[in-house]
């Protein structure tokens, strides 16, 4: 276990370092300048522009700027936003809660509805399976921003059941405000997970040992639990884990659509205005979330299948 954690920690640090350099480089090379955002595009005399560039250290070459940022970051100082001068740590702290809530809510929907639909589909061929496959086919092809528009027009505008925009206060308010974003974000992933679950369960059902167990008269419930679901769990866990890990990045789209103040929408805005410190810090948070979620999935493998050793790659 200790070896596993050490290995994962090293991987996390290496990923963060590599990602920080790659993201910094990408933002540096990309066209445009934060000055355009800071000045609102107002044409300014060259002297004023030079003062602004110097003030924001935009006149320094790439490597010293990166190293500067890195050493500050290692000391826990992620700098301040070039655009609104807010400390990046505060900016992330004030926004990450919304994104975590959204991802948790969405993850729950994916696990519950994805697994339920997949297993029912696999075990009930015929009409139920046909209906579920049709629904999941439509959902797979529904991008979250389209789902967002449909949900807003039905539940916020026509029925007026749920608020169209914003974060909400308190538990009830948060649930009310996050339901549509979570559904929009979960839609295609629910379909994906249910498809994988259906295929895995179907495959296990045709296995020899399952057929044997059935022919020996074991109760169906026991066969399903011990021989089918347990073996099908590994591919399902893999796809569910990957899907949930990717939610951190995909959340940006629904955050924009529902005007949620999460880190995803902050990243989109910061990237558009080349706000280096904000882009850097949020990217690293996203990378860390991805690596950590994957580590958790690996832990789950070991729990599900005693043959899997921690740190070794799963089937």
């Amino acid at each position: 276990m200790a070896a596993f954690l050490a290995k994962r920690l090293t991987m996390l640090v290496a990923s963060l370092l590599l990602a920080s350099f790659a993201v910094y480089g990408a933002v540096y090379i990309a066209p445009g300048s934060p000055i355009a955002t800071i000045t609102g595009g107002r044409a300014l005399p060259p002297a004023t522009l030079r003062v602004l560039e110097h003030h924001y250290h935009l006149d320094e070459p790439f490597i010293p700027r990166y190293l500067n940022w890195l050493s500050d970051a290692l000391h826990g100082d992620f700098g301040t936003s070039l655009v609104n001068h807010q400390s990046v740590a505060n900016l992330i702290a004030s926004r990450i809660g919304t994104t975590l809530e959204l991802v948790a809510y969405t993850g729950l929907l994916i696990v519950v509805f994805g697994l339920a639909a997949g297993i029912v589909s696999a075990l009930r061929p015929g009409l139920i399976d046909g209906v579920l496959v049709t629904i999941t086919s439509v959902l797979t092809a529904t991008p979250s921003f389209v789902a967002a528009i449909v949900l807003i027009s039905v539940f916020a505008v026509r029925l007026q059941w749920l608020p169209a925009i914003g974060d909400g206060q308190g538990f009830g308010g948060t649930i009310a405000h996050l339901t549509m974003p979570a559904v929009a974000l979960a839609a295609s992933s629910v379909a994906l997970v249910s498809r994988v679950a259906r295929a895995s369960v179907r495959e296990e059902l045709t296995r020899e040992h399952v057929q044997t167990a059935v022919s020996r008269g074991l109760p169906r419930r026991v066969v399903l639990r011990r021989h089918v679901l347990r073996n099908a769990a590994i591919p399902i866990t893999t796809i569910t884990g990957l899907t949930i890990a990717s939610l951190f990045a995909l959340a940006a789209i629904v955050e924009e659509a529902f005007n949620l103040n999460g880190i995803g929408s902050a990243l989109v805005n910061a990237a558009a205005s080349k706000d280096f410190p904000v882009v850097q810090a949020i990217s690293l948070v996203l990378v860390a979330a991805f690596v950590i979620t994957n580590a958790l999935v690996d832990l789950l493998y070991a729990l599900l299948d005693p043959r899997v050793e921690l740190g070794a790659s799963a089937a």
Binding site: A30, P31, G32, S33, I35, A36, T37, I38, T39, G40, G41, R42, A43, L44, P45, A47, T48, L49, V51, L52, H55, S81, V83, N84, H85, Q86, S87, L91, S94, R95, F145, V146, A148, I149, I152, S153, A156, V157, Q160, P163, A164, I165, G166, D167, E256, A257, F258, N259, N261, S265, A266, N269, A272, K274
Partner: protein, 537 residues
């Protein structure tokens, strides 16, 4: 470039979603109404949408719709822009004692939100701060004729000029003339106007809370000095919403009460909503094709004239603005007639609108021997209205025998065209929406049509035009200044340093339960949101 373009940068992704169903309203005709009906009663909390979150509350660093809207609700300039563009006394009464000597008599009894009285020290500090190169404010150049600013007494300030400058009075009614508390701003230093430093002003609303990335919350200032503008709303919450579909839904459900619309792509949907009203009013905004290279074919005046004649402005206005704009006759939007209106009105009436005339345009191209010559127009497929306009200019050029190549750049690169000469290399022309700081056609025209000015990207230099602008700037009499402005506008229409494309309206979208704020561009520079209140029924 103005924030309307930036609005489009942010909203580019949303455009595809907002739907393209277009309800054509008639092309605007004068007169547009500057004000909505006065509110009957006070109201509680009003939510107001901005096209993006506010980045700064520092008037020296405010040049876009969100910052101007919020700062103007809280902070006041020395003079006040009225809804119709007229300039009246604000925190001070401004008098030119001689053409180079301005006296500011400060309104007595004005207090900042913390209760401290506003004095000449605050005024001198605020103006010098705008001029200070270390602050790198956006408005340093408007003070270029100022020699000294000093306090003559507790409530009197004198500005001495190198040369007569009657444009300065206009600038002092806008962001450059906003007064902040010296003591507070000095204590905050560079943090002034940032989320940690806040702001300290005199206006009808005071800053309660600024949650960056979420909202700016302002509450009524109970001790506000001006009885005429006592706020009707107890609180206004400003929220940045960059997604036009989300904005439409929020207005429909009442989550947002009002907004000044900067991205018109959802106008058709808004007009169909039963619970909001859309008001069109005069604006300082104008759309142009910027000429950025005089070495190429567009350096030839006949080619510029031909291109202008070939452009179908009616179709352009219907496509981009759903009709909420006027076909230009002079170089500036009629919303900029802030004084001597009769002079501007007569000139406008005598000038034909810029309608399409392909026959004449083709003759000009033949006379210039420009057939088959190539012009490069920058476009941006990520910005729907820019792309539409570039396509329209390309079609216009091709219809008269020019070749036109579109150079597609990213939204960020498109903004860089305005700030970085390197980005403009090889580009002959690109389109923009932009505006001046106060109601005077010269406030904008001089920035692109005079040499060495901020938006003169091609080195255009016309001695006759320069002489007219310099004469207008030094002219004390508003009527004669308007005549000089009109002469300059007519010359611009003949010489076309930039080619006018449309004069958009100011669009106010307001929940029907509310009324009061002006439907004109004055919201950008003066605290007119104090007027928003419950509508009488």
């Amino acid at each position: 470039m103005s924030g309307r373009l930036r609005a489009l940068v942010v909203c580019a992704a949303a455009l595809a979603l907002a739907g393209c169903g277009r309800q054509v309203v008639p092309v605007s005709s004068l007169p547009l109404h500057a004000s909505t009906a006065a509110p009957a009663t006070s109201t509680g909390t009003v939510t107001w949408a901005l096209y993006r979150d506010v980045d700064s509350l520092d008037p020296a660093h405010a040049f876009d719709y969100p910052e101007n809207t919020v700062i103007s609700s809280m902070c006041e300039a020395l003079e006040r822009q009225q809804p119709d563009g007229a300039i009246t006394p604000g925190l001070a009464r401004l008098t030119y004692r001689t053409p180079t000597r301005i006296t500011l008599a400060l309104h007595p009894g004005v207090r900042f939100w913390d209760g401290r009285p506003m004095t000449s020290a605050d005024v001198v500090y605020s103006l010098e701060r705008q001029m200070n190169p270390k602050v790198a404010g956006f408005y340093g150049t408007v003070f270029d004729r100022v020699k000294s600013i000093r306090a003559l007494g507790r409530l009197t300030v004198e500005i001495v000029l190198h040369r007569p400058d009657y444009w300065l009075a206009g600038e002092l009614s806008a962001m450059p003339g906003v007064i902040i508390e010296k003591r507070y701003a000095e204590a905050k230093g560079q943090a002034y106007g940032t989320p940690s430093g806040g702001a300290m002003c005199t206006g009808p609303f005071e800053l309660k809370r600024w949650t960056p990335g979420a909202e700016v919350d302002v509450v009524a200032n109970p001790h506000y000095w001006d009885r005429a503008l006592r706020p009707h709303a107890a609180e206004i919450r400003f929220e940045g919403i960059s997604d036009t579909a989300a904005l439409t839904a929020a207005l429909r459900t009442g989550a947002i009460d009002g907004t000044y619309l900067t991205d018109t792509s959802n106008l058709a949907q808004l007009l169909k909503l039963s619970n909001v009203r859309v008001y069109a009013g005069p604006s300082f905004d104008a759309d142009y094709l910027i000429i950025s290279n005089l070495e190429g074919p567009l350096g030839n005046l006949r080619v510029r004239r031909a291109l202008s004649l070939a452009f179908d402005r009616r179709v352009y206005i219907d496509t981009v603005y759903d009709g909420a704009a006027q076909i230009p006759r002079l170089s500036a939007n009629p919303g900029t007639w802030g004084f001597a209106r009769g002079v501007f009105r007569r000139a406008w009436d005598h000038q034909p609108p810029l309608t399409q005339n392909l026959g004449k345009a083709r003759r000009l191209i033949r006379a210039a021997r420009a057939e088959g010559k190539t012009i490069v127009i920058a476009t941006c497929s990520g910005l729907a209205s820019v792309a539409t306009e570039a396509d329209a200019w390309q079609a216009a050029a091709q219809s008269i025998g020019l070749r036109a190549r579109l150079q597609n750049v990213s939204p960020e690169d498109y903004i860089a065209l305005f700030t970085d000469p390197g980005a403009r290399a090889g580009i002959d022309a690109f389109s923009t929406t932009t505006y001046g700081d106060y109601a005077d056609p010269a406030a904008l025209d001089s920035t692109y049509a005079m040499p060495h000015q901020s938006q003169n990207f091609d080195g255009y230099d016309n001695p006759r035009l320069n002489a007219l602008f310099n004469a207008a700037r030094a002219e004390a009499d508003p009527r004669r200044r308007a005549e000089l402005d009109v002469a300059a506008e007519r010359l611009i229409m003949r010489e076309l340093p930039w080619i006018p494309a449309a004069d958009p309206d100011t669009l106010l979208v307001l929940n029907r339960r509310l009324s009061g704020p002006p439907s004109s561009f004055a919201y950008m520079q003066a605290p007119w949101l104090a007027r928003v209140g419950e509508a009488g029924h």
